[in-house]
Symmetry: C2
DNA sequence: GTGATATAAATACGCTTGTACTAATACAGT
DNA sequence: ACTGTATTAGTACAAGCGTATTTATATCAC
């Protein structure tokens, strides 16, 4: 029997090389050769784990979605406001490592627009995110934390929009929008939704 | 004297071909040859107006920024809430034509992340947008429409985030987020900022 | 008409790309 | 130690790329 290699581990290793190439040179430079060189393997070896470039990029994108999902699932149940805050913290690019992930995600997202093979990761992630947010906000309504006059589904869409918009700002406008500003905007938004926490009940 | 051609008009014509190629095939397919074929001109002709591919893409992006700026400047002075609404309408991809512009913009934005030549259009647009929003919100504070407890600059950042986030949702999640939902979220946000307009003053 | 010249088209060069194929390597079971 | 095979490396090929250069075209001043 030949050498035994952990297939999934190798695929992850190669996907991480994809991230590095995209982060520094852009998606359009993420050629099979460039990724192979970045990973330290030959193009022939890479092809054993990913028969085509598309499958390589698609896996790299799905792995990013998995990481985001894992961060979200690690949020333990607390009061609704804290959960909403933690979700924003899990999605916003507050650390350098996460910032790079978001940059790569956005680059792949733009490509997914014209590459059906990349669209699934985006759809699944989005779907999961919105249903989680809706769930929390419906629960908040049931607990009287969110006003009856508000539509929880619409508020979920709007809150996700704030997170996405602040994410864009952090990535493309970093010198103006710091992590502190991003979180301040999130907290201000939660104040509007759920009321200022430290004040007496109205 | 030779044939006289309107240089700027031809450059715009070629830039529009760039938009079409990016919209249907993606930035990575926006080669000089592909754009020339889409425009109906030869690559040699194209090169008379854009010596390099980078200059072609940069001009295509700047032209998009110009169109957005023109839409914003066409908003005539009205009450602050209406102005804020109109700004959102000018930026959100509510029509098919505008939707394509936003798709192309996002594709070029992703590339601008690793291509300094494309970054200026993004910066200028962003800067102008934020200062307009801040101006309106400071005015709203002066008129007592925005609560003194709110920071107009932070609210400008947050409102732009909502617009950007809804824009992303409209483009990448169109079957779930319609134009109506996007505008409903905007109106809800303006309600939070400025109060519900149809009610009696508190 | 004629000629000067901006524009258009065509061709060519060197490079990179995605993918395919072939030969060498190295390790698990006997 | 031997053998078979998963893995790796290396090479090859056709296609597409950005760009340069060279030739042909068409129009305006005279």
């Amino acid at each position: 029997m030949p050498k035994a290699v952990d297939h999934e581990a190798r695929r992850r290793e190669l996907a991480e090389a994809v991230w590095r190439v995209i982060s520094t040179d852009g998606v359009h430079r993420a050629s099979v050769r460039a990724v192979a060189a970045e990973s330290g393997w030959s193009t022939g070896s890479l092809r054993h784990y990913f028969p085509t470039q598309d499958s390589l990029l698609a896996f790299a994108m799905e792995l990013l979605a998995d990481k985001a999902r894992a961060r979200l699932q690690a949020i333990d149940d607390q009061d609704n406001r804290t959960v909403l805050r933690r979700i924003a913290e899990a999605l916003l690019p507050l650390t350098t490592e996460h910032r790079i992930e978001v940059e790569v995600w956005l680059a792949l997202l733009a490509r997914a627009q014209v590459d059906p093979g990349l669209q699934r990761a985006e759809r699944d992630n989005r779907e999961a995110l919105l249903s989680v947010l809706s769930g929390v906000l419906w629960r908040a309504t049931a607990h009287g934390e969110l006003s009856e006059s508000r539509n929880p589904d619409l508020e979920a869409v709007r809150y996700l929009a704030v997170i996405d918009g602040m994410t864009l700002a952090c990535v493309f406008y970093a010198e103006r929008i710091s992590a502190e500003v991003a979180l301040a905007a999130i907290d201000r938004h939660l104040d509007d939704l759920l009321g200022v926490p430290s004040t007496l009940p109205a």
